[in-house]
Each structure stands twice: as structure tokens, then as C-alpha cells.
């Protein structure tokens, strides 16, 4: 298919600069930050987590939650965004989606005005791969940027499903994996119009 000269030309592309020192320095620097942070906050964090776990267990029964696979429709509402809030938890404690909670005071950039918050609460850093649609991630400075085909999510991050293509009913298909590439869950969502207005229809599955 490709001639020998092309293969040779391709393989002549080489790193001219040795990146090893830079990589090791970056890694060492990140390790130091983490070690310092963890020492400083570890004990109070353990105490806080214990308290949160106890409170969560008490509140769990009071929340509108479903465990397992969610399949269904959720009414989004009109432009005033009076959406229904759904929380879906899975048996894997690392994976929990908190869906469709929209607040009029959400501070979104203009690019993100037509979005559905898909709040992801994870117990670990995860990686999202999007095969259809677009998600927006916070970029750390109060703005939101397209996650594109893939992005990293830390616990508590809010992802926004961009609906700027809603006229074409652009669906969202994304899968979440942990840092080792193990699948945590998948999401497929479609924005559809019904007699009650715009609805979100789709599935979230644990694996």
C-alpha cells in the first residue's frame, strides 16, 4: 500500500530533544504537591468523610434516587429551565450520575448557555470518551471548554452536554473509564421533542 520511501520518510521523524529530564521533573513536582497536600489535610479529611458517609446514608432514603440502570424520559422544561432533578446511583460506588439539575444562577459562558448539566460525581478520576455529541468541561478558570473526544474528569466536576446542535437533535454518546481503562459506565442521551416540550431521553448504564 505504501512504498518503501514513504515508510522510510515516516520513520525518519524522530524526537530531536531528550524529554526524559522534563518528564521526570514534572512527575517529581506533582508527587511533591500531592504528598504535601495529603499530609496537611489527611486527618481532617478522614473525619469529614466519615461524617459525610453517615449523613449520606441517612439522607439516601429521602432523595429521589434510583439504583442501577436508568432508562427513561426526563422533561427539560422551557427556556426558564425548570427541569426535573434526577439522581442515579449505581452499585459501584465510584460511579454516580446526578442528572439534569439546572439552576438559573449557573455561571456559564455564552458558549455553554444551551446546555444540560450532567453532574458527574465520581469517587475517582475518570476519563470520558465521546463518540457522539459534545461535552463541556470546566477549564479551571471559571470558563467551560469543549471536552472534545476525550477528557479527564475529577470527582465533583460538572459536565455540560452542549445542546447548541439541538435543532439537529444531536445525541450524546460517551463512555467513562478509570485511569486503567476499565469501563465505569456509559451514557447515551437524545434531546427529543414531545407534546410536553423538549425531553431528554436515554440510558445510563453502569457497565
Amino acid at each position: 500500500m505504501l512504498d518503501e520511501e514513504s515508510v522510510k520518510a515516516y520513520k525518519s521523524i524522530r524526537l530531536e530533544r531528550d524529554l526524559r529530564a522534563d518528564i521526570l521533573n514534572r512527575h517529581a513536582s506533582r508527587q511533591s504537591s500531592r504528598a504535601f497536600g495529603s499530609q496537611k489535610i489527611l486527618r481532617p479529611l478522614v473525619a469529614l468523610c466519615s461524617l459525610i458517609l453517615i449523613c449520606t446514608a441517612v439522607l439516601a432514603g429521602a432523595l429521589n434516587t434510583r439504583t442501577g440502570i436508568y432508562t427513561g424520559n426526563t422533561r427539560l422544561g422551557d427556556s426558564s429551565r425548570t427541569a426535573v432533578t434526577e439522581t442515579v446511583r449505581y452499585t459501584d460506588p465510584r460511579m454516580r450520575f446526578h442528572l439534569f439539575e439546572i439552576s438559573a444562577t449557573d455561571d456559564l459562558t455564552s458558549a455553554a448557555n444551551d446546555c444540560v448539566p450532567l453532574r458527574v460525581k465520581l469517587g475517582t478520576t475518570a476519563f470520558v470518551e465521546i463518540s457522539e455529541g459534545a461535552l463541556l468541561l470546566p477549564d479551571g478558570s471559571g470558563n467551560y471548554t469543549y471536552a472534545g473526544f476525550a477528557g479527564e474528569i475529577t470527582n465533583g466536576d460538572t459536565l455540560y452536554w452542549s445542546l447548541t446542535d439541538c435543532e439537529t437533535l444531536s445525541p450524546l454518546t460517551a463512555r467513562f473509564t478509570d485511569a486503567d481503562g476499565n469501563l465505569l459506565g456509559t451514557v447515551t442521551l437524545t434531546y427529543v421533542q414531545s407534546d410536553n416540550g423538549w425531553c431528554i431521553s436515554g440510558t445510563l448504564s453502569e457497565k
Binding site: 514513504s6 520518510a9 520513520k11 521523524i13 530531536e16 524529554l19 518528564i23 521526570l24
Partner: protein, 158 residues
């Protein structure tokens, strides 16, 4: 001692895979400096959180997957749409010649380009590519077939 062992393992991995990852990153990102960033990020992730690998092929596939994901993320953030011939890259570090066939490969959509490069230029097997790209072998074959068709069309046009 433990740190020395890890650093030694890292040096081995770097010597084995750095150029391969860089070539692929340059092909996808069309920028040597961005490609260096992507390679650095991939190796930093290796140091931070590489799993226990079954064998060297698993390690290679993992690194490729991490690098490709880095490149995809960077491409989307940059919203790169234009194709540049590799001769247009003047940054230090790119001293590669190009051929019409290679230029045609670089014009392919990203999902076909990756498979064509890994199969025909990096000489990986279908199964290895499937593991690296988290695809089924049949999906790899389909992309390879479609990529080849597109490549032929591009070469005929040129």
C-alpha cells in the same frame, strides 16, 4: 532504591517507545511542539498511573491509547481543521522528508489515519491495533479498508 528501579523502568520505556509516539503525535497534530507536549503528557501519565502490564504488547497498546487520547483532546481544543504538508513545519526537530503517499495519509480523517499509520507504517498487527484503540478487530479491519479506499482516491486525484 525503589525510585531508582522505577526511573530505570521509565528510561527503558522511553527509549523503546518515545520516537514511535512522537511520530504518531506529529502525524495527528501536525505540530512538533504540540507533539512533544502530547508525548510528555503520555509518559507523565505512565509514571503516575500505569497499571501492571501483562506483557510488552499490553504496555505498548496502553501508551498508544493514552497518546491518541491526548492528541484528540488537544486537536479538539485547538479546533484544527487545516491540513498542512509536513514540509511546512519549520519548528526545530522536524527534519523529515515527505512523499506524496505520506502527504495523502496526513489528509485522512483522524480515525482512519491512526489505523493506516499503525498498520502500514508502525507495522502493528490488527489485534495490536485493536487493543491500542479499544476497538474490535473487525472495526479495525473496516477502518483499514475504508482508509485504504480514501488513500487511493487521494493519490489518484493528486
Amino acid at each position: 532504591m525503589q525510585a531508582d528501579g522505577r526511573n530505570e523502568a521509565f528510561r527503558r520505556v522511553y527509549d523503546t517507545y518515545a520516537d514511535m509516539l512522537y511520530r504518531l503525535a506529529v502525524s495527528m497534530l501536525r505540530s512538533p511542539s504540540d507533539a512533544e507536549d502530547a508525548v510528555q503528557n503520555a509518559f507523565c501519565r505512565y509514571l503516575d498511573r500505569a497499571p501492571d502490564f501483562r506483557d510488552s504488547e499490553h504496555e505498548k497498546a496502553w501508551l498508544l491509547r493514552v497518546l491518541i487520547n491526548q492528541c484528540k483532546d488537544m486537536m479538539r481544543r485547538r479546533k484544527v481543521r487545516a491540513w498542512l504538508p509536513i514540509e511546512a513545519l519549520t519548528d526545530i526537530g522536524v527534519q523529515a522528508k515527505s512523499t506524496p503517499a505520506l502527504d495523502a495519509v496526513y489528509t485522512l480523517p483522524e480515525k482512519y489515519k491512526a489505523v493506516i499509520i499503525l498498520y502500514h507504517l508502525e507495522e502493528m498487527s490488527i489485534d495490536e491495533i485493536a487493543e491500542a484503540l479499544s476497538l474490535s478487530p473487525s472495526a479495525v479491519k473496516m477502518r483499514l479498508s475504508r482508509g485504504r479506499d480514501m488513500l487511493r482516491e487521494a493519490l489518484l486525484k493528486s
